[in-house]
Subunit: 241 residues, 2 copies
Amino acid sequence: MDNSVGQKKFATIKDYILSQVETAAWPEHSRIPSENELATQFAVSRMTARRALQELTEQGVLYRTQGVGSFVASPKSQSSLLEIRNIADEIQRRGHFHKAELVQLTSLPCPAVVATALGLSRNAPVFFSLIVHYENQQPLQLEARYVNPEQVPDYLAQDFVLQTPHEYLSAVAPLTDAEHIVEAVLPDELTRQHLKIPASEPCLRLTRRTFSRGGAVSFAYLTSAGSRYRLGGHLTIQPKT
Amino acid sequence: MDNSVGQKKFATIKDYILSQVETAAWPEHSRIPSENELATQFAVSRMTARRALQELTEQGVLYRTQGVGSFVASPKSQSSLLEIRNIADEIQRRGHFHKAELVQLTSLPCPAVVATALGLSRNAPVFFSLIVHYENQQPLQLEARYVNPEQVPDYLAQDFVLQTPHEYLSAVAPLTDAEHIVEAVLPDELTRQHLKIPASEPCLRLTRRTFSRGGAVSFAYLTSAGSRYRLGGHLTIQPKT
DNA sequence: TGAATTTGGTTGTATATACAAGTTGATCGG
DNA sequence: CCGATCAACTTGTATATACAACCAAATTCA
């Protein structure tokens, strides 16, 4: 295709790809033509088509995986992280989840991890609650929480209004501190059942420990389905497909 | 040069050039060997030598002029960069991780995201460092950090007590605030290479911005291999299988 | 002398080819 | 039903070659 005269061939292909991406003719995370297909289509060598794809990848427009193909990157990687943070704050403020369901509430012997986190002795009883959070009628997050029984008086005195995970956590006790760790994991069986996701879908897991003046109050796993995790429709954490 | 086995040829040449530049064996604005000369010297094709020069140009290490040659860029004071390197060495000595390796240290044109985060103009030079953190002889975390050059005096004036990554970050400047965003991502090529993980392994990415009273000091990506992430030796989260 | 041209070297673009490395899905055998 | 193997395809690296665009210095010519 002759675009403007003197236009470099690889630049022509770049322009073509960019136009497809910008008009959303090729949506986010969709697979785009391979190097060979582009080379054929534009009647150039593979290395020329490759260069176009390469440069667009460096610019964050595409991402590529050896053995698989080239894909349209999400605009997230190009837009400012600050914007994302503001969105996150906003969600925190307004309440992100529409519905929360308590599916289990028992007393358990304390697992080792929890014992360490709460400063309890191994196998001492802890209160265990399991809550599924929904968004748009879809199970989004599974919360497994362990509460220090010594702190239960505070805990039970609360009038639960489960709006956001943060509010829920805050309600337990006036936080003097809160630690958290976030990580990507594959779902365990429990999570799979409640969120109704395949075993292969990566999840986002947040481990949060809360404190009151009396000590560690609770320890919670908050596991979200990666493919469903959205913030205000802008930020989507989508590991793949 | 007997670089490690499996080293890509173009990477070998890049390393060579970088070493020459960093030791000032090739001073600023001096002309460096041509593509053909490098190709002969390393017994590779011109295109391979070219790739090394090309990538270093994109990273701001070199600049090139058609018909003339390739030259050492970096009008930034080399001394500051070297001092930052000393800090990295200090981390290595005292740090939380058993080993930390500085794999790259250059001045770069500021990427859009970083420009926004640090309040710099697009493509203004920033200091860029890339550090691999090890635990138990295993690469655990890749840190990509961008430092605001204007804040470097503060950065260097600190009396570092480097124990944990968090302390390391905190030590950069008296924080008036620190933002961070955590998300689950699939590793980019750089991360994959340094952490030696497959492309499919979900990673934990922490994006942290630090401030001093003078403004935004640094912006960092901390990407950890999900399957290797440990907390204090107690909590091990392992994605199963 | 001074301007135009040639010449040699350099980077830029493009092609054709080959093999390596990695993923996916189908096929086959127990 | 499950695992192993294989085939097809994709991206990654590398080579060899050719010509275009460009610059600088040497050469040539008025």
